[in-house]
């Protein structure tokens, strides 16, 4: 007979792996009479890369905002590690917006170290001397990994669109969030630069063991980057009252990165989102 030792850490880890990180239970979001999302039930494990597509106004950005804590559910639950998600943004969830993500009055380096300064200097929000040198070194390493070493003393208005988004990503990662939220981060970039950014985000996703939620208009981008692709759409429609029914996840597809072609049943949606 073998005796299995009671190892609390082992059991906790096993439990954590089994438990979904994010869970939506019968989630609804309404603005007045306008139902945006309805009856959403979904769970996400740590380490997944979720890409969200759909026509505009279909609630994918609203869902991202709820994950971020900018919006709270009208009814139902949105859980992080089994607990209700905090209804205001905090350092557990990093965000990169399409624009206005970086602080225009700070240089590239200052934009990144400000996160550590918030952490260690509650009154002044600024670090000096040896403490500052430590965070500067950390920030420089991070900026190197996103390819901005040559630009650390420039202001954001001196950067190109792609460089600004690299900075926004580095900034979002310095406090080591578990969840990274991306709201059409590459929507305004040229195709060539977008491909570079795809490589970068995949590298960072693996290296930092992130759980990523990304809203995109580009279906092929969604298929290429994600491990799981969600299509948001309305299941019920009332043409006399467009706001009466909300959207839900109509397709929840596991994606392997090798197959990047669009499945047959999604081609009409692909067309729609490209028309947009």
């Amino acid at each position: 007979m073998t005796i299995i030792p009671f190892d609390k850490k082992y059991i906790d880890e096993k439990r954590a792996k089994a438990m979904p990180m994010i869970q939506a239970k019968n989630l609804w979001k309404k603005y007045g009479d306008n139902v945006v999302l309805e009856r959403m039930n979904v769970s996400v494990k740590a380490g997944e890369f979720i890409t969200m597509v759909g026509t505009s106004g279909c609630g994918k950005s609203t869902f991202l905002k709820m994950l971020l804590g900018m919006e709270s559910p009208t009814s139902g639950e949105l859980l992080l590690d089994g607990k209700s998600i905090r209804s205001e943004p905090d350092q557990s969830r990093g965000i990169v917006f399409q624009q206005y993500s970086v602080f225009p009055h700070l240089t590239v380096l200052e934009n990144v170290i400000i996160a550590r300064e918030f952490e260690h200097s509650p009154i002044l929000g600024k670090l000096f001397g040896s403490k500052k040198r430590k965070v500067v070194d950390e920030a420089k390493a991070l900026l190197e990994s996103v390819g901005l070493t040559h630009a650390i003393n420039r202001y954001p208005h001196e950067l190109s669109g792609g460089m600004k988004q690299r900075l926004a990503i580095a900034q979002a990662l310095i406090r080591q969030p578990r969840i990274l939220l991306l709201d059409e981060p590459f929507g305004a970039l040229d195709p060539g630069i977008r491909a570079d950014m795809h490589q970068l985000i995949l590298e960072l996703w693996r290296e930092h063991q992130l759980t990523v939620f990304m809203v995109t208009h580009d279906l092929s981008e969604g298929f290429y980057l994600g491990t799981r692709l969600w299509v948001f759409d309305k299941l019920r429609r009332d043409n006399q009252a467009p706001g009466a029914y909300g959207a839900n996840i109509t397709y929840d597809l596991p994606v392997t990165r090798r197959k990047s072609e669009v499945p047959y049943e999604l081609q009409t949606i692909a067309q729609e989102s490209q028309d947009f």
């Binding site: 971020l68 206005y100 993500s101 996160a115 918030f118």
Partner: protein, 286 residues
């Protein structure tokens, strides 16, 4: 080349007026021209009047103005022993600077707090809107009654006249800062205080300088009005005092001096802003 082409080139019409830009030297010349014209018109008119009546006071010659100001600036007053011109300038600048400074601090604080924090906005913003509609000049008697006729009431008039404007301007600028930045700061772990100190205040300081520049005109107005009514020195006091003797030879140079001071203060503020906040200018002119 075809003949018809030749024809069109010869008859090429002049560009539209909106597409014509003067060259740099021409621009400078055009800029100086109105000043020169005004000066010449004044000289001719003044000469004509003085030729008819050497004691005419309405349009004094430049020599007369120079004498009058020379007396005020470089000879001590017989009554008080002060150099009146410089005494007036110092007093006025002191009142204006103090008033604008207090108004800027007050307006900036109120503006940023109401703009950034909804629970402060709700009780303060409607009050602020109403206060900014009260004509400050109408309050001047109240100020004289409450604060007396001394320095305090003049400075208070400037503060009351200018602070609500600055507060509302800064409030609007605060609300115009993209929400994305505030959310981003929170995801980096910032508290409300840290967001104020590191994100909002640094971005709003150039806006404050801008608001101060815009409100300086009103500041001068309130200063001169207050000095005209109750004062014993100051630029506004002097021009209203010598009006009784129709001393245009003092009034005109004083007005020119006030204009020059206003210009210099404005220029200094622009310099201060561009040297301290280069990112603001490069980002906005782009």
């Amino acid at each position: 080349m075809r003949g018809s082409d030749d024809h069109t080139i010869k008859k090429m019409p002049m560009k539209r007026l909106i597409n014509l830009t003067p060259s740099k030297p021409l621009k400078l010349l055009l800029g100086i021209l109105p000043f020169a014209l005004l000066l010449v018109v004044y000289l001719i008119a003044s000469d004509a009047r003085l030729a008819e009546n050497a004691n005419d006071k309405l349009l004094p010659s430049f020599a007369q103005m120079g004498d009058a100001i020379g007396n005020l600036a470089f000879e001590p007053s017989k009554r008080s022993g002060e150099y009146l011109f410089w005494q007036d300038t110092l007093s006025s600048l002191y009142r204006l600077t103090l008033g604008i400074f207090i108004a800027a601090i007050l307006g900036f604080t109120i503006g940023i707090l109401t703009g950034a924090i909804p629970t402060i906005y709700s009780p303060i913003a409607p009050l602020l809107t109403i206060i900014s509609l009260v004509p400050p000049m109408a309050l001047l008697p109240v100020l004289f009654i409450v604060f007396g006729l001394g320095e305090l009431s003049k400075v208070a008039l400037i503060v009351i006249g200018v602070a609500p404007f600055i507060a509302r301007d800064i409030q609007r600028c605060t609300q115009e800062i993209p929400l994305e930045q505030l959310v981003k700061a929170q995801t980096l772990g910032a508290s409300t205080w840290q967001i104020l100190v590191r994100v909002l205040i640094p971005q709003l300081l150039p806006r404050l300088i801008n608001a101060v520049r815009l409100s300086l005109g009103a500041g001068w107005l309130f200063l001169i009005a207050a000095e005209a009514i109750a004062s014993t020195d100051g630029l506004g006091y002097r021009i209203f005092l010598v009006r009784r003797y129709m001393s245009m030879d003092v009034i005109l140079p004083y007005v020119a001096w006030i204009t020059l001071l206003a210009f210099l203060v404005d220029w200094l503020l622009v310099k201060l802003s561009t040297t301290c906040f280069p990112w603001h200018y490069q980002a906005t002119t782009k």
